[in-house]
Symmetry: C2
Subunit: 339 residues, 2 copies
């Protein structure tokens, strides 16, 4: 067992797109768990777009990471030592925290996972926060009905993959939007979407062809020119699930800072009775994890729920991998194998 902790700290707040110098990789002592706590060795770290918000001190739904503190992030790993009767060394768990090799967690914040359902790293994606995000947003806002057309942006990403496959399982026509031919091919051939459009090519003719009956549900992960092309195509009673707008995170990290581009005129919201609603998975999601898992487990077993991961190797590679994530360079759910 390594006798040092390895951590990635936030060194300074990015101006625009983050650069490697905004982070600092340090070796520190392995922390010691207190009463009711557990020491976890992380095997995988999740990298997700929301982390860009935490690097900024603009007002948001969660506190920013302090300068000099460990970057925030979810990990999965195994229990090293436990001061709580519900965990023992060797238990495989989700719920670890931070861009670091070792973390100390309150036992109540950890959850044992079953790696016979899916491999460990999948509990950061498919069966972790991104998958749960997909499920909650569809349950609470998207409410797709069989026969409806569901459009999913960032379709090959961690959340988009699950959104589309859940909607397919519920009988919808599912159209993804992704960047480049390779991702689009994957979304159709591997994930089984009905179509996938390349947002680097003109979207209007592609949407005309792929959504002849208009759009009932749009899953918004990106904003920008994709939102602009999709918005006029809503059918009456359409739902726009506002999960994220990654296209503007580097210009407006708080997502409403000055400099954010204008949005669509809201007149059609009245005429078409649209519902545009945002949500954050942590508000109500974790309390509903069992219901989520109950829907996902058979779909995974039947191979109707597939996924792709993009694995960066070693914690020191995390900053560059995260910077790439914000540019759409990852292909599938981005995780770091901590090693």
């Amino acid at each position: 067992m390594t006798d040092k902790n390895l951590q990635v700290l936030l060194r300074r707040r990015p101006q625009g797109a983050p650069v490697p110098e905004d982070f600092e990789v340090v070796e520190t002592a392995i922390p010691t768990p207190g009463p009711g706590q557990v020491l976890v060795r992380a095997h995988f770290l999740s990298l997700d777009p929301y982390m860009r918000g935490r690097m900024s001190d603009a007002k948001s739904y969660a506190k920013p990471v302090a300068l000099g503190a460990v970057m925030e992030g979810a990990t999965v790993g195994e229990v090293v030592t436990s001061n709580d009767p519900s965990f023992k060394p060797g238990d495989v768990v989700m719920g670890g925290q931070g861009w670091q090799r070792f973390c100390v967690m309150d036992a109540a914040r950890l959850r044992k996972v079953d790696t016979s359902v899916a491999p460990l790293s999948a509990y950061l994606g498919l069966l972790g926060m991104p998958g749960l995000t997909a499920w909650v947003g569809l349950e609470d806002i998207g409410t797709p009905k069989a026969g409806e057309t569901v459009v999913v942006s960032a379709a090959s990403g961690a959340v988009g993959q699950v959104v589309g496959q859940l909607a397919k399982a519920r009988g919808c026509r599912v159209v993804g939007i992704a960047g480049g031919a390779a991702k689009c091919d994957f979304v159709v051939k591997e994930l089984g979407f009905d179509a996938c459009l390349d947002h680097r090519q003109p979207l209007d003719p592609q949407l005309d062809a792929a959504c002849p009956d208009g759009i009932d549900v749009y899953w918004e992960n990106v904003g920008g020119h994709v939102q602009e092309a999709v918005f006029p195509r809503f059918n009456d009673f359409g739902r726009m699930v506002m999960c994220g707008m990654i296209a503007q995170y580097n210009i407006a990290p708080g997502a409403d800072a000055a400099g954010a581009p204008p949005g669509p005129n809201l007149g059609p919201v009245v005429r078409k009775r649209l519902r545009i609603q945002g949500f954050i998975v942590s508000d109500t999601g974790w309390g509903r994890y069992d219901a989520f898992l109950a829907e996902m487990t058979p779909l995974i077993a039947e191979r109707r729920m597939r996924w792709r991961e993009d694995v960066a190797d070693g914690l020191a590679a995390a900053p560059r991998a995260f910077i790439g994530l914000l540019q759409g360079e990852n292909f599938g759910k981005l995780v770091v194998r901590i090693g």
Copy 2:
């Protein structure tokens, strides 16, 4: 009894703001009811912003009025002759249709009204489509809770009056927005709102003062610079009830035509978990009229629900009154006394 019908027809489709020449007033024969039908003599005609949409052939939720056809609109009046056992001459009814003195209606579309609850003309406003609109939008989207701050645009108008008083009755802090000191005075002193802001003066300092705890519910009747000032002030989980955007009806009657100004950047919808939702009262409202009336009747009796009407005299005055409505010239619910 007058032996001629008087009607206002749509003569041509307006370019921008309607002008009197877009309408034509004609005398025609009184129509004859068929089996199951009723001849109604209208006493009052309602004038409402939605009618601007019907004058245009841009795509909307309802068909446009055909050129040369009678303008669409709700009336209240009395039964003249009836070929249906549920109505008899002299019955006072709501549900009449058209900018005209006489109309023939299927009996199923009429409803007897009780003028001891409120005077006949109130069944075009407070207890008609506008009042029902207020109630449905609050029930389904606004869902105001005691202690929350509710902001209502076009607060002295037909819908806004009822929205604010219903929200007050439910224990909210209610802030109106209206045009000019006279309307604002009325909204506070007569209707009992906590404050009313003049949208002809700079709104930001007024909103700072009137909404120190932010905004939980915004009732959108207007769009434009009022929407722009209100939108950044939403609290987490805020609801924006999209009832109308009258500020742009003359530039974009279909409410999404080219030329409509951009809307707010939607980033805060994610971060604050906002819900922006449109509705049309006719979708589900009339089937719930009894529940609406049950909440309104005691409020009216206790004088906790007041209202103001702006009455234009004579059907020939309807075109100019309607043109003024789109400019905010009316003060209270605009109706025409047909005479």
